[in-house]
Amino acid sequence: MRRRGHLGSEADRATFRALHQASLASPALREGLTADSADRAIKHLRALLGTPALALTDTATTLAWDGTGSHHRAQAGALAAMLVAPVGSDPTRDWTRTVEPTQLPCSTASCPVRTGVISPLVVDGRVIGTVQAFAPTTTAGLIRATEEVAQWVSGQLDLAELDASRNRAMEAEVQALRAQISPHFIYNSLGAIASFVRTDPDRARELLLEFADFTRYSFRRHGEFTTLADELRSIERYLLLEQARFGDRLQVTLNIAPEVLPVVVPFLCIQPLVENAVRHGLESSATVGHLRIVAHDRGHECVVEVEDDGVGEDPDKVRRALAGDASLDSVGLGNVDARLRATFGDDYGLVVETAPGAGTKVIVRVPKFAPGVSAQ
């Protein structure tokens, strides 16, 4: 007979408790090993081990200390440094050490920090810190438990490293996006400007200045976010340059609600869409192309639509582009979609309405406020 609420044997309950403590420590550790994250994780780790005192260190200093005997705090860092130095960062050796009472000089008679177990934290094949458990006496059980905890923490830190590298990859993609604008567009723009140099020198001069401002914005190094107003200003410059090239073949209509101009958006999240629209909507056909950019105020969010009446696209191809298939032409699309989702959550991905021969409409929704998102 099993009743609801019956949690199994004592051993089962111990397992549940251990798993629960581990799950409490995990979010902090997933941010990487810092004094702050160590501070938040350490009390759960100590509950897991059940020792009177526990320390987390990097390779030279103590990051966090939990439990009694915090006057030993500085010693933990020194122990870590001392043990890392001879072994180096070679994690293949059996590295866990016990600490004798002689290495823990203490004037307090009742202090339970007499002996300790030190186990390394290994991430990506390198020792980056230690877990140190202290107790009146060292048992084989404590050594084993400390080793296991150190390995589990290492695993979490590995995952943190993975998160960090994913973010770095995303940043690299933004950098690539900045660089990606250049080749075609630069040749074409300079060509168009050159054609005005003799016939209309003033216009050529203005276009060159627009070109300079445009590149300055696109290649700017700092800041992940910008305001919709700045993004639109850059798009304006881009369109002026494209119109110099295409003349009356490019018809642009704008309809911007001024209320949404201060909205903070990821840097270069609209411009690639406009570029796509010009490229796909116009370059392939010889007739006049219409481009429409609309920004609506929708209460707590804003909606931006970029629409062209060009050749359109196979919806399946678009779906693959959004899924990140880099072999396709619309590299910008997948990148913008990924960054919007990463910033505002999965509800805020791109919506693309298209069919072959029916033009393309890309819709971006952006919330007016999201925690941690600001233009400065």
Partner: protein, 508 residues
């Protein structure tokens, strides 16, 4: 009454049509690239200030102030003074930092500052509470207006106006488009200014008769009744001075400013525009002492502004002026009620109804209005309409005063301490919001259900701000000090951002 109803009906129709027309076509005409700089220029402070005033000047300002002054005399001047001076506090202490925080609503600010979902939810709850408390007198005022203008029974007004507002909000026809709201301000000002001028001329033509029965007490700026009266006056001042910053539909308008500096300039213009508007209700009240004595006797002072033109000017002229003030009054509750309903439904959508209904419309129509928002709008409007039908009529301006008291006892401490004190913690904020909300909110509920005390108890319930605001501040500070370890890590960085002027634009 059928003959009397014509100008009122025409005025109401004209306001509705004009509002919808501007909303639909005002800023919708398309532009080409050469106009791009025009298209992508932010809303300038003057236009935004007009819009804030348009949304802010409610039926309480348009109708209530003149009525209060007529009955209560100079002590009631504190209402228009307080409603204006609230923006001075906003200007000096809150406007620019709030804009720099990037928050769109008050719950957003709480989340950004304290990093706590719980405090966010508490703020959402309070926004809905303050919004409902503020919507209630709008619908009651609507009942009064329609009764006076068309002769309809009083319960018709809340129902009709509630439905109009609901349709407006749900169809998106009167979203908080800056241009529409700015138009509403100038309409309201004209609707008060022109009749006031004409009536003044009539009064001078009549040989400037003095008011009847205007005793000394009418011109004393403090309520009678000794210490209790003094308490009531000060309490009202505290509520109005500190409550403005916590009004949900005012705060969202500041988001439209491009930066903190523009937010300050906007507030400055708002002060001027409100000052200009509030000059005129006292004129109506003073003339009412001369020509509208019957209204006081009938206990119908709130309709003074609507009735006075007819009482003073005969024939077509009087009807035209009546039409104009009716239009202004209708604009007053339409714009404020719509603005509030949108703010309340926005919060309800984000934090309540989207959990039950999908937030997004059917695929392919992301621009359409989501079912969650519709549900929220129905909730936001129907609750105060129902209360307006069954609750006792507290008086338009007094009821608004209670909404201010709740806002002053909850959001004012949160904003002030959140912006100016690093030590605020989530636990402290929550405790303070609870203390102020239960204190002032409880008093407001007692008022709405008609509980009245006598002497000091009555005064403390009728004007709770003087005790509930200090209680809320003290609770927030003390609990924050007791839970100092919970202070968010980013507090210092966040405050630096709030108080650093935007730098001159360096390098695009």
């Amino acid at each position: 009454m059928s003959g009397d109803a014509v100008p009122g009906l025409i005025a109401v129709l004209a306001v509705t049509v004009a509002t919808l027309a501007i909303g639909t076509w005002g800023l919708r005409f398309s532009r080409t690239t050469s106009d791009f700089f025009v298209a992508s220029r932010s809303v300038n402070p003057r236009l935004n200030a007009s819009a804030i005033c348009g949304e802010y000047l409610s039926a309480a300002s348009f109708l209530g102030v003149a009525g209060l002054l007529l009955v209560g005399g100079a002590q009631m001047l504190w209402y228009p003074v307080g409603w204006t001076a609230g923006y001075l506090v906003l200007l000096v202490l809150v406007a620019a930092p709030l804009r720099r925080s990037g928050a769109y609503t008050l719950p957003d600010f709480a989340e950004a500052r304290l990093g706590s979902r719980v405090v966010r939810s508490a703020c959402s709850l309070l926004v809905v509470g303050v919004g409902w408390l503020y919507l209630l007198p709008q619908f009651q005022g609507a009942g009064l207006t329609l009764e006076s203008a068309i002769g309809a029974p009083r319960w018709v007004g809340p129902l009709i106006v509630g439905s109009v507002v609901l349709v407006n909000v749900m169809s998106g026809g009167m979203r908080s488009i800056t241009f529409v709201q700015a138009f509403q301000y100038w309409l309201k000002l004209t609707a008060l200014l022109v009749p006031a001028m004409v009536l003044l001329v009539v009064w001078v033509g009549d040989g400037r008769p003095a008011g009847s029965g205007a005793g000394d007490s009418w011109s004393v700026p403090v309520a009678g009744g000794g210490a209790i009266g003094l308490y009531g006056t000060y309490s009202l001042m505290i509520a109005l001075f500190l409550g403005t910053m916590g009004l949900p539909h005012v705060v969202v308008r500041f988001y439209t400013n491009p930066d903190g500096r523009a937010a300050r300039r906007t507030t400055l213009v708002v002060l001027a525009l409100l000052g200009l508007f509030y000059l005129w209700p006292p004129v109506f009240a003073a003339l009412g002492r001369v020509y509208g004595g019957d209204l006081v006797a009938k206990g119908n002072a709130d309709v003074l502004v609507l009735e006075l033109p007819r009482l003073m000017v005969d024939g077509v002229g009087g009807e035209l002026l009546t039409g104009l003030v009716t239009a202004g009054a209708f604009a007053a509750f339409l714009s404020t009620a719509s603005g509030l309903a949108i703010a309340v439904s926005g919060v309800l959508t984000q934090d309540v109804t989207s959990r039950f209904v999908g937030e997004r419309g059917p695929a392919g129509t992301p621009g359409s209005i989501a079912p969650a928002f519709r549900l929220a709008a129905v909730l936001a409007v129907s609750v105060p309409v129902l209360v307006a039908l069954f609750a006792t009529n507290v008086g338009v301006a007094q009821s608004v005063g209670l909404a201010f008291a709740v806002a002053a006892s909850t959001f004012c401490p949160l904003l002030m301490l959140g912006i100016w004190w690093r030590g605020l913690t989530d636990a402290g904020a929550l405790a303070g919001l609870a203390a102020g909300g239960i204190g002032a909110g409880g008093a407001a509920v007692l008022n709405v259900v008609g509980v009245q005390g006598s002497g000091w108890v009555g005064a403390l319930i009728l004007q709770p701000a003087a005790w509930s605001v200090p209680v809320a501040f003290a609770t927030m500070v003390l609990v924050s000090l007791a839970t100092a370890s919970r202070a968010p890590l980013h507090a210092r960085r966040f405050l630096v951002r709030l108080h650093t002027p935007e730098v001159l634009e360096v390098g695009g």
